[in-house]
């Protein structure tokens, strides 16, 4: 029952987004622009594209992702549909899982579309490392979306939610993003797995702890 409800909520959000594709397009264009600007905003003789690449990738993902997160609850604010959700038999857990799934799909698609662009702009050869790279991207995205979903649910009630979300979210992203960057540059530099195992464990532990915490805390946010 919970899974079906969650899926229904996720599909509803995605259907709404699919009609206009506004948020998706904005995030994508934003990602491309950030990648490009970061590439140009350096002394090309001193900083190679390869050195800049991991940081540029994760800054891009983080900010493009944040654009998408707000959308999930902003859509409920209009017409008070969040109250509708609350009154429905959907449990807070189902609502949370539904929102997280919708966000994961949204952010995931933005990331998957900008990844080839990243490869092209920064001239990175990643064919051998694709599975590992995708794993890291998935793990960091889960961290980002779990915390972001909880925070955006709270922040949607304030007047400046677009500004408040980054303000509250970014400190939480420091461990996962630092970890992701550390792992990514090692992947791109084709370092042995042993060198990144520590950071991978950190990222994994963060995912587990914060996903569980977000799930538990969401009840306190939704239930009045």
């Amino acid at each position: 029952m919970t899974t079906r409800t969650a899926m229904a909520i996720a599909l509803k959000d995605l259907a709404i987004e699919w009609r206009t594709k506004t948020a998706f397009m904005s995030s994508l264009v934003f990602a491309v622009l950030v990648l490009a600007i970061l590439f140009f905003a350096r002394d090309a003789t001193a900083v190679s594209a390869f050195d800049l690449a991991p940081g540029a990738l994760w800054v891009t993902f983080t900010f493009a992702g944040m654009l998408g997160l707000n959308r999930a609850f902003l859509v409920e604010r209009e017409n008070h549909s969040l109250d509708g959700l609350r009154l429905s038999p959907a449990t807070p857990t189902a609502i949370f899982l539904g929102k997280v799934t919708g966000n994961l799909i949204f952010v995931g698609v933005v990331e998957l579309v900008s990844l080839p662009l990243f490869v092209v702009f920064y001239d990175i050869a990643i064919w051998r490392q694709v599975p590992l790279l995708l794993t890291v991207i998935a793990m960091a995205t889960v961290a980002f979306v779990a915390v972001g979903t909880v925070l955006s649910a709270m922040v949607v009630r304030t007047r400046f939610s677009e500004v408040m979300l980054p303000v509250l979210l970014l400190p939480f992203l420091v461990p996962p993003i630092v970890g992701a960057v550390q792992i990514t540059w090692r992947i791109l530099a084709e370092r042995p797995l042993a060198e990144m195992s520590g950071w991978l464990s950190l990222l994994g532990a963060f995912d587990i702890v914060f996903f569980a915490l977000a799930l538990l805390l969401f009840d306190a946010i939704i239930t009045e």
Binding site: T158, M164, V167, V178, G179, W199, A214, A220
Partner: protein, 234 residues
């Protein structure tokens, strides 16, 4: 005793505690500046340690208390826990300002640079920003019950974040001095300096307690005043 009278009593007690702590601070200042020897290789600037470390400890204590009270609030939904958590966060933010300014002032002569993205400095900066965000969130929510609930959620998440930030410290190259007190063997700080440090730690802990008590009392007074105003309108 009415709520208002109890709150006033809390403020009074807190004021006494704060005044005592401030006097203690004067004593610590005198002792650190005049009666503690100068470290040979680092010079007088090393003495910044006697204020920087305790103020850092006090602000981290404040944030930890806020986190724990947030957990408590989510279970007990007691308004007082929320007001106490908020007070602790505010005191923590104030003390963090001292920590984040004395840090670079210490760093410049000792490490040769105002700021390094050494992770311990960075992580205390992030904690500071997190709790400023906590206070900003509170400011943006009008309904008291929603505000208390949402702040508590943020506080709990912040509490869970701290160990992760700590873990990231150990895996990141760091310029921060190696732990001098909290080592398994005997502390490597000579006796006189150790006493000064411990005195300062005690004073700043007391100061945190005093500030917290006063701030909490004031928060309850504000709450009482709002209640009375609501009553008069109805």
């Amino acid at each position: 005793m009415t709520r208002r009278e109890r709150a006033l009593r809390t403020v009074r007690r807190g004021t006494v505690l704060t005044v005592v702590a401030l006097l203690g601070l004067v004593i610590v200042y005198v002792r650190a500046l005049m009666f503690t020897p100068i470290e040979r290789f680092q010079g007088p600037a090393q003495k910044i340690f006697y204020v920087h470390a305790p103020v850092a400890w006090a602000s981290l204590l404040a944030f930890a208390v806020c986190g724990l009270l947030s957990v408590g609030y989510l279970f007990m939904r007691d308004r007082r826990l929320d007001l106490l958590a908020m007070s602790s966060a505010e005191v923590g933010v104030a003390l963090s300002v001292a920590m984040l300014t004395t840090g670079p002032i210490w760093g410049k002569p000792i490490w040769g640079t105002w700021w390094t993205w050494d992770f311990r400095l960075s992580s205390t900066l992030f904690l500071f920003l997190l709790f400023v965000g906590y206070l900003v969130l509170r400011g943006a929510l009008a309904d008291h019950e929603v505000r208390a609930r949402y702040s508590a959620v943020l506080g709990v998440m912040a509490l869970a974040l701290v160990p992760f930030i700590h873990l990231t410290v150990y895996w990141f190259r760091t310029l921060h001095p190696a732990p001098v007190i909290m080592k398994p063997e005997a502390p490597s700080l000579p006796g006189v300096m150790l006493v000064t440090l411990l005195m300062s730690l005690a004073v700043f802990t007391l100061l945190y307690g005093g500030f917290l008590t006063v701030r909490y009392g004031l928060a309850v007074l504000e709450d009482v005043r709002l209640e009375e105003a609501a009553h008069e309108l109805s």
